[in-house]
């Protein structure tokens, strides 16, 4: 039987406002427990929420970025449930009139094809606190610093058809929110979290199957694995004559399995109603217009520009524009280097490999865009060969010099393009290896091409890799045929 997986994602994105969505408490990460939980966040009697203007603007920016309608009169509602990290007994969220309406996100798949994924809506809400279940004499510890941190929850339509598509969608959302600067998108710190609604159906079937919701997945890799393992569980269950039940499940990354979290249907009876403490939020068209003007160049537009302006392949341009920081790094580097293709190769190749090797983000790169640009300049003007360039790169990476020029000078790596000097080396190598010279002279053209490599190797060794390889080849050819 051919099965089709149907996935919808709910992505929670923490906004990078300075203060909370309904209070003036700080949202800074890493503060002492509860030192940033004020009377409003603690739901002390008599307190009232006041909405943060920046959170509203951030949500509108996101809506504009995905081509969505902005709801001009949006309403906050109470989502009622009891949990100790939610002191009010309800989460202030949005239901009927979310601030961002239908939108669309284009995803690009491995094979280069694209698909449009519909966004059902995106709404503003507050984050909850954190429960710590270590043993406090049989009790749980609650830290409410995170309570009231503004979130946008982005709800997709069930348009995704594979775990890979789900990851591509999530990466695109990450890319959009970081380009807009409305979130740091750091999944490891919980700035971006994702719930996946997963169901399966026979290929060609119109009706959706019963879905399970996998809660709180916190990395791109886990999203892919969790969806795959959950879809397979459902397929196995149905093929064995069982039935999928609608429930919330938790992904256990250690065991690579999902397990039931809560199945009591009443746990999902949230009894939403408009929050009487907050009036409807009216958004003027003039605000939308002015935010539209502030809109930075978004990933898709930047990718297209990189292709046309720099003549890069779609593949290179996609890699460079996935993160705004990478795109900015490339453009700075390219301006200095004066060669887009070389700059793209170095950023996507050597630099990206070095960052991966050390598990570093680009912002923590020990090598600046200016330094890399300076290095490429010296490759272009033949001061150094590509091979030596890698040594210079390593040296700059390890902080052994302020610029490529400084490293080249200090280590004496400058390529030898002096005809006299190279000629002397060529003569020396020819004189020292009469047997190989005989062999070369006796060989046909095809064999000669292979044999000449021996001489080039000897000369590069003698020059410590600094001889200009083009000139070495030219001189060798000439001298050996004499």
């Amino acid at each position: 039987m051919q099965w089709e997986v149907v996935i919808g994602l709910e992505v929670h994105v923490q906004l990078t406002t300075k203060s909370k969505i309904f209070s003036g408490a700080s949202t800074a990460f890493g503060a002492a427990p509860n030192s940033q939980a004020c009377a409003v966040d603690l739901a002390l009697p008599g307190t009232l929420p006041v909405l943060n203007e920046q959170a509203v603007n951030d949500a509108i920016l996101f809506g504009l970025a995905i081509d969505a309608d902005i709801c001009r009169d949006s309403v906050f509602e109470r989502k009622n449930y009891f949990y100790p990290d939610l002191p009010k007994g309800y989460q202030t969220s949005q239901m009927d009139k979310p601030i961002v309406g239908h939108g669309v996100v284009e995803i690009r798949l491995e094979d280069g094809s694209t698909r449009n994924i519909r966004v059902h809506h995106a709404h503003l809400e507050e984050d909850a606190g954190k429960s710590l279940h270590e043993d406090f004499h049989g009790m749980s510890g609650i830290d409410l610093n995170r309570a009231g941190t503004p979130l946008i929850e982005i709800v997709s339509e069930p348009d995704l058809r594979s775990a890979e598509e789900a990851v591509a969608y999530l990466r695109k959302i990450h890319s959009i929110v970081t380009y807009l600067g409305i979130s740091d998108g750091d999944m490891s710190q919980g700035s971006m979290r994702c719930d996946a609604n997963v169901s399966v159906r026979l290929k060609g079937e119109e009706e959706y199957g019963t879905r399970a919701e996998i809660k709180n997945i916190n990395s791109f890799r886990f999203v892919e694995r969790a969806i795959k393992v959950e879809a397979q569980r459902q397929i196995d269950l149905i093929e064995d004559g069982g039935k999928v039940v609608q429930e919330t499940r938790l992904y256990d990354s250690d065991k690579n399995e999902t397990r039931s979290m809560r199945s009591k249907e009443e746990a999902n009876d949230y009894r939403y109603f408009p929050c009487p403490d907050l009036l409807p939020v009216h958004i003027e068209q003039s605000l939308i217009d002015s935010l539209q003007k502030q809109m930075p160049e978004l990933p898709d537009a930047k990718r297209q520009r990189f292709e046309t302006e720099y003549g890069l392949s779609t593949y290179d341009a996609s890699l460079l524009t996935a993160e705004r920081s990478t795109a900015d790094f490339f453009e700075t580097c390219c301006k200095i280097a004066g060669d887009a293709k070389l700059a793209a190769n170095w950023v996507n190749g050597e630099l990206s490999a070095a960052l991966n090797r050390e598990g570093k983000a680009l912002k923590d790169s020990p090598l600046s865009a200016e330094q890399l640009g300076g290095l490429i300049v010296r490759i272009r003007d033949n001061s150094i060969s590509g091979k030596i360039a890698k040594q210079v790169f390593e040296a700059l990476w390890n902080g052994e010099g302020q610029s490529a020029d400084e490293v080249i000078e200090a280590k004496g790596l400058k390529q030898v393009s002096d005809t006299g000097a190279i000629e002397a080396m060529v003569d020396e190598v020819i004189a020292a290896n009469p047997a190989q010279v005989e062999q070369y002279r006796a060989a046909d053209d095809g064999k000669r091409k292979k044999l000449i490599g021996f001489f080039v190797g000897q000369i590069m060794k003698a020059s410590k890799g600094q001889a200009n390889p083009g000139m070495v080849n030219q001189l060798l050819n000439k001298k050996l045929s004499d």
């Binding site: 309403v75 949990y83 510890g141 409807p280």
Partner: protein, 95 residues
Amino acid sequence: MSLEQGDIAKLARLARIRISEESSEELRQRISDILGMIDTMQAVNTDAVDPMANPHDATQRLRADVVSEVDQRDDFQRIAPATEDGLYLVPKVID
């Protein structure tokens, strides 16, 4: 609209309140009466009226994104039943 006893039990469970058997019947009656009143109101033709989320003819004021609160944890935790290492302690929750 009239409620069943089961509805009352479910509402009580959701609201985490205990209702004795004696008061349960009285509550069922009173909530049913309120719903009956709403039924009466539903009979009014409101086709020309936009639904509203709030009875006030006003919109939400927004505040600038500025940190205005200082750390008052010690004051807040003085009235908490149990705290440790800056955390509020609550009966163990397992979900």
